[in-house]
C-alpha cells in the first residue's frame, strides 16, 4: 500500500513542477541528471542516522503518476497544456542506488542517488526528501531509546500526539529503530507490526469503582490483562486492587500479566509496586511504565535499577523530539555530461560532484572504522581524507571493505524484494552493535570518519577552480 494512493504525482512542491515545465519548454526532457541524497548533521546531537523509508520511497516511485484529476488541477493552475500532456503519460523510469534500509549512515555521504532525465529526477525531489528525512529521523530516535533500554522492551504509543497521518509511517520507522511493537493499529495492519494495548483511565472511570473495573477487565481478558493503576492513587488503591484481582485470577487458573504506571515518580513507584506484588506472591506480574519517556529518562530509570519490564513511549519518539526534522538534502551532482557543484560561502555546504561510490571499512574485530567515498571509476585506494581538511588522512588498505550503496531500482523497476520491518530492524541492530561505543554515547559522541579519496578531492577542487574562474 503506497503512502499516497491516487495523487502520488502531486505529492511534490509547486516549484518542482514549475522547473519540470521549464526543462520541458527548454527542450531538456532528455537531459540526463544525477542527484545525491545526503544529510549534513545527525539529529539529537548524535553521530549517526538509521536510514529508513527506502521501501515506501520505492513504492511511491513505482506508482508516481498524474491521473486525469491531477492533470485537470494543473490546467486550472495555469500549467502549460503540452507539459500537462507529457505528465499524463509520465512514469518514473530512472535508476536508484541506495544504502539498505536499516543501514547506519553518517553525515555527508551520498546515502541514495537518483539518475534519470532531469525532469523525472526533479519531480520526485520533495517526495523523496519527505519520506527519507522523516522515517530516518524516527528510526534514529528509536535506536537511541533501544540503546538506553538495553535488554528491556519498549513499545511505541504515540499516535495521539503524532503529526497527523505521518504517525503511520513513524510507527514502522520506530520498529526499524528497535521498538518491539506499536499501539497504532493502522500501522500494524499496513506493515505487519506487533500491536499492543490494554486500557486507559476512561475504562477505570466508566465503572463505579476501580476494583470493579479491574475485575471486569480481567474477566474479558483473562490471559492478557495489564491493569492501569494510577487513576485514583497508585500505591493506596491501584496496586492493592490489582493484587486482589491478580490473586482472584490465580484461583481461576489465570495469571495477571502486568500493571502499568502512567504518572508520578516512576522510579519510586515501580520499586514500591514491585515489593507489594512480590510480597503477595505475584513475582511474575510485569511492570510497564509510560508518561513522557525519552532515551534520557529511560537511561535514568535503568541507572536507578527501577524494576520496569517494558517502556511505553509516546510523543518523544513519534515526533522525534527534540529534532523536528532530519536536514537531508537532494543535490544535483551531474547533468548533461558534466559534474555539477553548488558552491557556497559556507564550505561545509559544498557538494561532492559527480557519480560516486560509498565504501565501509571494518577492522579485524568487525568494528566499523570509517566510510570512504570514491569516484565511480575507482575501487582501489589506500587512503581516505577529510573532505575539508585534506591533511587529515587515514590508511584503509588493511581493512575489510564493503560497498554499502547498491543499485535498487533500474529504469523505474524495483530490484529488491520488500522486507519485513523486523528483519530490517535486526539488520539495524547488527550494525549498531558494530559501531564502537564512543559513537553511540548521548553526550558529545565521537564523530565517525567519513573520508573521500584523493581522486575525488582532486576532481572537486578542479571543478571549484573552474567555477570560480567563470565567476
Amino acid at each position: 500500500m503506497a503512502l499516497v494512493d491516487n495523487q502520488s504525482g502531486l505529492f511534490t512542491d509547486h516549484y518542482e513542477l514549475t522547473m519540470a515545465q521549464g526543462y520541458f519548454l527548454s527542450g531538456m526532457q532528455d537531459t540526463s541528471a544525477r542527484f545525491d541524497y545526503f544529510f549534513r548533521k545527525a539529529p539529537f546531537k548524535g553521530s549517526y542516522v538509521v536510514f529508513a523509508g527506502l521501501q515506501n520511497l520505492l513504492e511511491m516511485l513505482s506508482g508516481f503518476q498524474y491521473d486525469k484529476n491531477a492533470c485537470d488541477f494543473l490546467r486550472q493552475r495555469g500549467f502549460n497544456p503540452e507539459f500537462i500532456d507529457y505528465l499524463g503519460h509520465f512514469r518514473f523510469s530512472g535508476d536508484v542506488w541506495s544504502a539498505a534500509e536499516g543501514e547506519i549512515v553518517f553525515p555527508f555521504e551520498p546515502v541514495l542517488s537518483v539518475e534519470g532525465n532531469i525532469i523525472e529526477c526533479q519531480l520526485i525531489e520533495s517526495m523523496l526528501l519527505n519520506i527519507l528525512n522523516f522515517e530516518s529521523l524516527i528510526a534514529t530516535k528509536a535506536s537511541r531509546m533501544k540503546h538506553a533500554a538495553g535488554d528491556k522492551q519498549f513499545i511505541e504509543f504515540g499516535l495521539r500526539r503524532a503529526q497527523g497521518t505521518g504517525g503511520i509511517q513513524a510507527s514502522r520507522a520506530a520498529v526499524i529503530g528497535g521498538a518491539s511493537g506499536t499501539s497504532n493499529m493502522l500501522a500494524a495492519y499496513q506493515y505487519g507490526l506487533v500491536s499492543t494495548g490494554t486500557q486507559a483511565h476512561s475504562w477505570i472511570q466508566s465503572f463505579d469503582d476501580e476494583l470493579t473495573a479491574f475485575r471486569e477487565f480481567a474477566k474479558a481478558f483473562p490471559d492478557r490483562c495489564i491493569l492501569l493503576v494510577d487513576t485514583y492513587n497508585t500505591l493506596c488503591t491501584g496496586v492493592p486492587n490489582a493484587i486482589k484481582v491478580g490473586l482472584e485470577m490465580e484461583q481461576k487458573g489465570h495469571r495477571l500479566l502486568g500493571i502499568r504506571l502512567d504518572s508520578g515518580d516512576i522510579a519510586y513507584l515501580s520499586k514500591q509496586a514491585r515489593k507489594m506484588l512480590n510480597k503477595a506472591g505475584l513475582e511474575y506480574v510485569k511492570i510497564v511504565a509510560s508518561n513522557q519517556l525519552d532515551e534520557y529518562v529511560i537511561r535514568s530509570l535503568n541507572e536507578q535499577d527501577a524494576p520496569i519490564d517494558a517502556y511505553g513511549v509516546g510523543t518523544n519518539l513519534i515526533t522525534g523530539r527534540d529534532d523536528a526534522a532530519l536536514d537531508g538534502v537532494y543535490k544535483l551532482v551531474f547533468s548533461n555530461g558534466r559534474e555539477r557543484l553548488k558552491i557556497s560561502d559556507n564550505i561545509e555546504k559544498m557538494v561532492l560532484p559527480g557519480k560516486k561510490r560509498v565504501f565501509r571499512f571494518t577492522d579485524e574485530q568487525g568494528s566499523l572504522y570509517a566510510d570512504g567515498i570514491s569516484l565511480d571509476s575507482e575501487d582501489e585506494f589506500d587512503t581516505i581524507c577529510h573532505p575539508f581538511h585534506s591533511e587529515k588522512c587515514s590508511e584503509v588498505s588493511n581493512l575489510k571493505r564493503e560497498e554499502i550503496v547498491q543499485k535498487v531500482m533500474e529504469r523505474g523497476k524495483t530490484m529488491i524484494t520488500s522486507k519485513n520491518p523486523y528483519d530490517i530492524a535486526a539488520f539495524a541492530t547488527e550494525r549498531i552493535k558494530q559501531l564502537p561505543a564512543e559513537h553511540k554515547r548521548f553526550e558529545f559522541p565521537h564523530i565517525y570518519k567519513v573520508g573521500i579519496t584523493g581522486k575525488l578531492m582532486e576532481k572537486r577542487n578542479t571543478l571549484l577552480m573552474e567555477i570560480r574562474k567563470e565567476l
Copy 2:
C-alpha cells in the same frame, strides 16, 4: 477526501479496541458516555491555540468503519468473533459539540465534546486526538508567524521536512493560521489552497552558467518569474544577473516578479539587493526570503526594516518546532448517568466533570475579556472563578456573552457545511485581532482568564469529596 480512505476504523490505538471489546463483553454497548477534548498548556510558550482539524475530524467520523479486511486483521490479532461482527456493522452515531474551526481557544476549556455510547466514544479517541492536536499545533504556529510578519505575506514551504504525509494536513492548518499559500501541491489539490513555487538551485546548476539559467526561466515564465540568486554569490553574480534579465524582460514587455534569497545574512543581503534593484530602475521587483525562518527571525527582520516582501517558511512551521505536539487530551466526564472525575495528585490535571457549556465574554470595545465554563443546565451567572483558586473571581454580568461551543454533529450526521480554509483563516484573524496584545506577545504572555461558575465548582468539589470518601 478523508485522511485515511479505506481503513479509517483502524486509525486508532490497540487499547481503544481492547477496551471497546471489554465494554462489549461486559454488556455495556448501550452505556452512555461523554468525553471532553481539551489541552492543558498552549504551545510555543504562548497563551492561546488556533483550533483546527474539525473538518477533517468530522469527515473521518462520518466514514469511520471496519471493512472485511479490517475485520480479518482483527480476527488474526485475536479479537473476539462476536465483537468483530459488531464492528463489521459499526458506524459512529454519536453527537459532537465543538468550537468553530479557526476559533481561538485556551487551556482547560472543553473545546470539543463527544457524546454517544461508550464504545463509539472510545474507539474514536486516538484519531480525534491525532487530528485535533496536530492541526491545532500548526495553525497556532502559523498564527504566530503571521503576527510577526505583520502586513507581509508568508508562504508555507515545508513539505520536504514535514513529518511524512502529515505534511498534507499541516499545509491546510498553516493556511488557517495565516499562511497565504503553500508549496505542497497535494494539499493545494485536496483543500483548495493557493500554491506557489519557482526554482531551486538545481535549476541554476543544470545550465552551464547562472545567466543562461535565469534567461531560460524568464523565457518559460515571462509573467511569474522569481529568480533564486544565491547559487554562486548573491551580490556579485546573482543579483547582477537577475537585474540583467529583468531589464531584458522589460524590453520584451514583461516584468521580473521577484528574486529569492535563501542563504547568508538575509537582513544585509535584502538591503543591498534592494539598492541594486532600485538603482537599475527595478523598484517593482519583489524580494522573497527563505532559510530557517521562524516567528522570531521574521520579527527580527521586520525590526531591522529588511526590505523583504514575502517570507517562505519551511521546517519550523510545518513541524511546529519547538513544540512537537499539542498536549490535548480526551477525558471521560459522564457515563451511565453519572458525572465522572479523574482525580490526580497534581490538582491541575483534574478534569471538570459532566456536561458543560463554554461562554466567551467581550468588553464594549469588542476585546476578548474571559471565557467561562458553566454547567449544561445554567446560562445565567454573574461571576466566574479560577478553577483551582476559588478566591479569584471576575464579574462578567456587564459583558457581552457568546456561546462558543455548539453542536456540529447529531447522531453521526454532520450539521455544519464544509468551509474554505481561507474563510476559516479570516475568522481566525478576526478573533486574533480581538485578543488584547498582552496575550499575543511572545515573551511571557499574559494568561487569558478561563473561569468556571460557582455551581460547576460546587459540583466538582462534591464529586471529589465523594470519591475521596469511597477511597
